[in-house]
């Protein structure tokens, strides 16, 4: 699993992993904005910082496959 991840990172850096970079960037931006909204809004309530970080990273991680479901690798 880690080997596969490392291999993907190497391909990604060579610009060979993603077939449609514009789609990827757009969907990643949408995911990032959702995550940012979650993180910053939860952090406004008086809770310890680890709570918004854990909630937003788990949730944002979980929605990324939905956002990127049409993305194709080479």
């Amino acid at each position: 699993m880690f080997e596969m991840g490392w291999f993907s990172v190497k391909l990604f850096l060579k610009g060979k992993l993603i077939r449609n970079p514009v789609y990827f960037i757009r969907q990643t931006t949408i995911g990032t904005l959702i995550g940012l909204l979650l993180l910053v809004s939860i952090a406004q309530v008086n809770v310890p910082l680890w709570l918004p970080i854990i909630v937003s990273s788990l949730l944002t991680g979980a929605i990324m496959p939905f956002l990127l479901k049409d993305f194709k690798m080479k």
Binding site: M1, M4, G5, S8, F24, T28, G31, T32, G35, L36, L39, V40, A43, P48, L49, W50, I53, I54, S56, S57, L58, L59, T60, G61, A62, I63, M64, P65, F66, L67, L68, K69
Partner: protein, 79 residues
């Protein structure tokens, strides 16, 4: 070490705590991505492959989120 842990838990945002949060968030994003992948495609791809693909996609959105989020929170705290 005690100073570091207390600043981590009290929510100080500085270079070191940011890096630690980023690492924690990256780990959680892999877990989140795996959950999302299984929910999305577990039946079609098989649970293991879906979790693995999701785990690769999760961090793509989470790492910029935490990076920018800590930056924004830091600005909000100081203003």
């Amino acid at each position: 070490m005690t100073d570091f842990l207390s600043s981590l838990l009290s929510g100080d945002i500085n270079l070191i705590t940011s890096l630690v949060w980023l690492a924690i968030a990256a780990g959680l994003s892999i877990v989140g991505g795996a959950i999302g992948g299984v929910l999305l495609a577990g039946k079609d791809l098989g649970y293991e492959l879906a979790a693995m693909t999701g785990g690769l996609l999760g961090p793509a959105g989470v790492i910029p989120t935490i990076f920018l989020g800590l930056l924004i929170l830091n600005l909000l705290n100081n203003s």
